[in-house]
């Protein structure tokens, strides 16, 4: 991006989103704390805080991880995706309270530095029953910390999108660590099966959503285009593509979006430079291809973001014969101007 950075680019939608996060969190914390206080009057403040924050964070983590596959399954979930980072940072802040209080409570005021104590008190790394589960939570917290501090777009640009995306994919490792932290920790203490049932239901739901979304993508990618000539492949008919919209084709392992706008067809790489969003599911707005995930824009004829932005995607050749659309999967350098294919009146009929 080339525009000046703001801490948060506030708009009405973001404000609604954050108020909802706030409302839901307060509601949950209040429910948990008040019920514990009523039904468990011998409670201690620290334990209730540690438990209220940990359970809330695990719930938010499940919501966060389900947003990706949900939007792939149904586009209507996109408003959840757009501000997902706010949800992530919120979760980190909550889990930081849990982690800090746990280290304070369980490891401070002793004969050892609390962080050293974390790794040297219980050293049964080879035992499931005695496994030092707190270390698992600590590493998950570190991953969430790295994700939270790099959630501003400044980091996306300065760490490079590839490194940034890789770092943020570690959320799945963190999730695994969290599940193990729960299973090897509190679940070995609590006797009520509710805890293990909730944890397993959560994991099962997430895995199922990812599998459903994943198989749909794989199906699209595995379509084989048989008709080929001079490097071009026949991909569809002109009327398969709506005006100002695109269709995505995966040819020779390249995901390409073919857009129809202003009486022409243009082909650009399907992968948005911002966070790998699917450009083929976007729309032409004010003459620009607009990514459905975060609204990044590119000009259809050259794949360049309009100034002052600087993102560029690859472009491709596309041609029309009769009503058939032919696509050449050979990519031009990012930002290369291509003429596109003119749709004549005859073709369009």
């Amino acid at each position: 991006m080339g525009a000046s950075y703001l801490a948060v680019g506030w708009n009405r939608q973001k404000k609604i989103y954050d108020w909802l996060i706030f409302g839901f969190c307060v509601l949950y914390l209040a429910t948990f704390v008040v019920l514990t206080a009523i039904f468990n009057p011998d409670y201690t403040f620290e334990t209730v805080l540690i438990r209220a924050t940990s359970t809330l964070a695990v719930i938010i983590l499940h919501v966060i991880l389900s947003i990706g596959p949900l939007t792939r399954i149904n586009k209507k979930f996109l408003p959840l995706l757009y501000n997902r980072r706010h949800l992530g940072v919120t979760m980190f802040c909550i889990i930081l309270v849990h982690g800090s209080f746990s280290i304070l409570q369980f490891h401070s005021l002793g004969n050892e530095n609390p962080f050293v104590s974390l790794f040297t008190s219980n050293t049964h790394f080879g035992s499931l029953a005695d496994f030092p589960f707190q270390a698992l939570g600590f590493f998950a917290l570190i991953i969430f910390f790295l994700m939270a501090i790099t959630s501003h777009d400044f980091w996306l640009h300065n760490l490079s999108p590839k490194v940034w995306k890789t770092l943020h994919m570690f959320v799945y490792l963190a999730y695994f660590l969290v599940v193990m932290h729960v299973m090897l920790g509190v679940i070995q203490y609590e006797t009520n099966p509710v805890f293990i049932i909730i944890m397993l239901t959560g994991s099962f739901t997430l895995i199922t959503l990812h599998l459903i979304a994943g198989t749909r993508e794989v199906k699209k990618d595995n379509v084989i285009y048989k008709l080929k000539q001079d490097g071009y492949v026949l991909v569809c008919d002109i009327k398969d593509i709506q005006e100002d919209r695109a269709k995505m084709f995966c040819v020779d392992a390249e995901r390409i979006a073919v857009y129809k706008t202003g009486g022409k067809l243009f082909a650009v790489n399907n992968v948005c430079k911002h966070q790998n969003g699917p450009l083929g599911e976007g729309k032409v707005i004010d003459g620009c291809i607009t990514c459905p995930w975060h609204g990044y824009q590119y000009l259809p004829q050259n794949g360049q973001s309009p100034p002052p932005f600087k993102e560029k995607v690859s472009t491709y050749d596309v041609k029309i014969e009769g009503t058939h659309v032919w696509l050449n999967p050979k990519a031009y350098a990012e930002g290369t101007e291509r003429p596109g294919a003119v749709i004549s009146v005859v073709n369009a009929e």
């Binding site: 509601l27 429910t31 514990t36 039904f39 201690t44 334990t47 209507k76 002793g110 104590s117 009520n192």
Partner: protein, 284 residues
């Protein structure tokens, strides 16, 4: 999808169909969050009834003894035979520390040994399940008074040999268990219990009998030496102890035999051989 309906996050308003959909999602999410909050809150194990009188200092007068663990014996009244009865109040330090350091500092300061002397200490009480302990913190100026002369403590030193016993239970740190933390036992508290015991708080074996009643034993080595470091790998996990039991008034002390502390697995004890033979059979 309608061609006109396209969602862009940086716009002020989302298209209507998206708004309606998200509203539906939130209407589903709302009860889910509440139900989870209710379920998780109500499914927690009951918290213990221990009390730590945080912020309240109490003066306690009694006779100090360094063995088997630093403690003071406080006159509690008279028993049915007309003899004075005592309760033993084990002493512990601030945070995750034993009381040895504080007591040693005070003895050095006064240049006398407290052993067998009447002493008044100011500290924070913690108690549960019939056991009373006191935290003495150097910052609280814990020493109120110490008598110059030794008290005739023969009656106080009365011990009763209970013979060799074998008991199964869990090693806890008495400070957390009897008041400071909830839970002060089990897996979630394991690291803390280890840190407390390594810091000098005397390890205690908690034994639950078939009726669910709990008995507590102080653990020391065969010759009365401290076992704090020796128990590190056995804290907050089922263990079996083979020891000479000696009653010191209201506390029983276990003098653990060499190799008398072992891990104990209920599963292995009851199903171990069957599982192993079944496993072998399955493999074959």
């Amino acid at each position: 999808m309608n061609n006109e309906e396209f969602y862009i996050g940086w716009m002020g308003e989302a298209p209507k169909s998206f708004v309606t959909w998200i509203r539906k999602y939130l209407i589903v999410l709302l009860p889910v969050i509440i139900v989870l909050g209710v379920l998780l809150a109500l499914s927690q194990k009951k918290f213990g009834t221990g009390t730590f009188e945080f912020g309240t200092l109490t003066e306690v007068k009694g006779i100090y003894f360094n063995k088997p663990v630093p403690n003071i014996k406080v006159v509690d009244g008279k028993n049915i035979f007309g003899n004075e009865s005592y309760i033993t109040v084990p002493l512990i330090g601030f945070g995750k520390h034993g009381a040895d350091g504080v007591i040693a500092d005070l003895e050095k300061e006064k240049n006398i040994s407290f052993e067998g002397k009447e002493i008044t200490l100011k500290g924070t009480l913690l108690y549960n399940d019939g056991k009373l302990l006191m935290q003495v913190d150097g910052n609280d100026k814990p020493l109120v008074n110490v008598s110059g002369a030794n008290i005739n403590s023969v009656g106080l030193q009365n011990t009763k040999e209970l013979g060799i016993i074998e008991v199964k239970g869990e090693i806890v740190d008495p400070k957390c268990f009897f008041g400071v933390m909830k839970p002060g036992e089990g897996k979630p508290h394991k690291d803390c219990a280890i840190r407390c015991i390594l810091g000098g708080i005397p390890p205690v074996l908690k034994v639950t009998d078939e009726k669910g009643n709990q008995n507590y034993y102080l653990i020391v080595g065969a010759n009365g030496e401290k076992m704090n470091e020796a128990v590190q790998d056995y804290v907050a996990t089922p263990v079996e102890i083979n020891a000479r039991a000696v009653a010191y008034g209201d506390w029983i002390v276990l003098y653990v035999h060499p190799n008398g502390l072992q891990r104990y697995s209920y599963i292995q004890q009851h199903f171990g051989n069957k599982t192993a033979s079944c496993g072998v059979a399955c493999l074959k």
